[in-house]
Subunit: 195 residues, 6 copies
């Protein structure tokens, strides 16, 4: 790599799922921030899973959290791309009308990790207890909340360019939920814990 040294993450210049929004949509730009820097955002998801890895009971758990955490990094990228495309070329007048003047004054057309109301991301949104049951239940709950947020977002638009990646992302959350659930049950059986 150009920067020297060996690194742990390799960036592949291709989105997990194509994002190609043709029509400016400031309203969606604003609410998509919920999934960028909000309580149940992809940022929070990546941080939560990558962070919990170290105290999983075995390699199996660590691997799953690494896999899903890595995928969430890709989802951050997708959401950022969507917000950026939704705002692209918007005039100041348009940003004003969309209630995005706070965004414009503080960040221009740049993406910033806040929620849909402009509130900064905080690690208070995530959980890591060192207990696999608590952590995996927290992960399952987080995936359900992310699914709900994607459904709310999908209810707000009819643009297929926006709906397609949102639908893909919602589907991934359902898959992640299942994976976390299977892992929890695997550990419960292994430890003879009555679910």
């Amino acid at each position: 790599m150009a920067m020297g040294g060996i690194i742990m993450w390799k960036y592949i210049k291709k989105l997990e799922y194509p994002v190609n929004i043709q029509k400016k949509n400031l309203e969606m730009a604003k609410v998509l921030l919920a999934q960028y820097g909000g309580p149940d955002s992809e940022f929070g998801a990546a941080m939560r899973y990558l962070n919990q890895r170290y105290t999983m009971p075995d390699e199996k758990g660590m691997a799953l959290l690494t896999d899903i955490g890595t995928e969430e990094l890709a989802h951050i990228e997708m959401i950022a791309t969507m917000i950026y495309q939704c705002m692209k070329g918007a005039t100041i007048e348009e940003l004003k009308e969309a209630g995005l003047c706070g965004q414009y004054v503080q960040h221009d057309h740049a993406v910033f990790p806040v929620d849909a109301n402009g509130v900064a991301f905080t690690s208070a949104y995530i959980e890591t207890t060192g207990d696999w049951r608590s952590d995996l239940e927290s992960d399952m709950a987080a995936e359900q909340r992310a699914r709900t947020t994607y459904e709310h977002l999908m209810n707000m638009t009819t643009d297929p360019d926006i709906l397609a990646p949102l639908s893909f992302l919602r589907q991934r959350e359902i898959v992640h939920y299942q994976r976390f659930k299977e892992l929890k049950e695997y550990y419960e059986n292994k430890n003879n814990i009555n679910k």
Copy 2:
């Protein structure tokens, strides 16, 4: 990839620089948190650079921010590993004595993105303005602060297992500073801006 779909980040199971701390060191575990979830932490660095990419003036700028942001993801991993190894096997009695009872009760031996006082990470620590000069000056300043923090950390220990990766990380911040400075000067020259 096992999870399905194409993703943008590939996880390589190897630290950028080897971390192999043999001796438990709870004092260092506590202060290393400054570089995990603190104001000038690696978490903040990765978020700052990856976030600013979209509004850089050209591919050259985007590429540099992607490269350095990606490397910072690897540094998060190194710091997490260091904290984890520094705490490994610590008894409750030892955690108490090291002033880590808050850590134990809320997170056990798990790593969590807070600063050295236990305060949650917030995106209020980072900056993205949509203006390349402001953003690159912010990046240069952030690298200087990270360098300073590494120097403070190095002043707190004599353990070579801890000093070596810290020294490597400090060196990387200096290299990043130079890269950001060169990019800023490149854009200044291109735009005939008097530095």
Copy 3:
């Protein structure tokens, strides 16, 4: 009631479970704050459940959240009493030695809703999505985390006066988890949702 009008909550001057700590224990006072104003605290629990009631699908769900939320109010009271008794009569010298000088200077011997590191409670710790599956999964996860926190607290002391109420509270979290789980499964069956 003395204050006039009809109110919805009636205060009964009796703790849900007796708290009678005879021996000053500043170390425990400090860490018990995790359950008073911390991320997985009783304060958060009461706020979470009472807040989610309104969008539960039916009376059954509303009733359960009201019941458990009301009980959590009683748990706040128990934790406050425990912290107060653990700090009672402590001299400034003793508070200093226990790392509670920040507590003393800012709050004297009073209880305040911060976590074990002195960080203020925030509603960023809780979740309400308007979706019963997301909310009930969040509640189940919250109960698991509270259970874990109680286990960590119990690992820190051998005083039976402290252990007995902690053990009672831990047990209640397990019961709450079961209740939330049963309610979630009841709604899943009713809606033919494959768990």
Copy 4:
């Protein structure tokens, strides 16, 4: 009680003052949040008074703070009911127009403890010093601010269904102010403190 054990709070299924808002009013839903999770909210009030009880000089002070704190719990309930009724049946289109798209995406039609701008509640809003003069002055000031907020809210609507409970709540703050003032003067006289 169904949950087992003896609890300290009994929930009575009746609002302190009837809330029966017939007409959807999203603008009011938004600003009523100021009294739900804002700086001078009912949530803050309940937390402030219930929290300060333990260090009041005698039973008289503890009893007053318990009484008023308990009543504020009932006020939280009233405000939540008002917000819920003001939002009931609102379509996504209506929520968008009212600037509540952040609310919808993150919480749907559920009530959440944020202020009128969507900022999370924090215990940084409340005060507990362990000194009765400081605490009672803080309580008096808090009641004045709550009164002011209710006046602002009343200035924003002409709907009698909304005005009536707001007027009742405003009146209660005035009564609470008097009670706190009387208690402060009682302690000042008892301690020969020149007001």
Copy 5:
């Protein structure tokens, strides 16, 4: 002085640059908050520089930080005056339409240190490391971001009463940037540090 004693700051009843906004402008009131309590606000600037003084290497550095920090206090005053004048005489109906109902309910026509989205000021926005290079680079970056914010604000209005003070303030940030740069270079030369 009327209050007794000798004080360190003398208030001169005259703005650094005249502010005399004739035309109500609620949109600008809202976004000017970015410079009052936002991330790169004058409040943050004054706090940052006055705070860093103590660890500058010599009198020269301390003097510059005192000078600029003192001037930023004057800028806080200018911005507060501008916001106040922009809101003066606004009816509730007008505040509602401008998306300032949160402002009205919580602060009426008063100025409050929040950002353009209503989020509270936090010292997490500023930096002080005890290292002159880090601090001066942080100051340079902060001045660039403040310049950018002023440019964004100027792009939002054509009112000369608002543009003139904004233009003055923007110009001051450029001068400050130069001063910080010169000081940094002076110290670098003195310490034979390769820039």
Copy 6:
């Protein structure tokens, strides 16, 4: 002035009350932060009063808030000087022992606006409602809390170099309380408000 232009604040290089602490005292450095960046700190006081000026009913009120706000700026300076002198020359070993390793790693020997637990200052600590009664009651309460905090600080040391300025500052809070009270009563009489 060297920086050009006319400014509103003039800095006089003399502390309101002399601070000359001869003996290093890291314990006091830590707790003095409560008065620097804590909930009832001098920073909060200056911000609160200077911020409330604009909506006072007349010149009399504005003048008092300006006077006291200006004096609080001088108090910030005194507290910063005290903390700096208490930490001066402390070795890393000494900072570690005093529980100030978080301070060292993140800020070295520099002063930073956090509370005694290392939590960032937030404007959530202050109040401005646009209503003179609410604001003046809030100011009176704030002065009482500041007085209490100074008393707690004085209880923690016997060093006359530290006690003298603390005693002076405590005394000023009592004077400020009286002034705010007189102003409130003046307005109450003028408006025939029954206290």
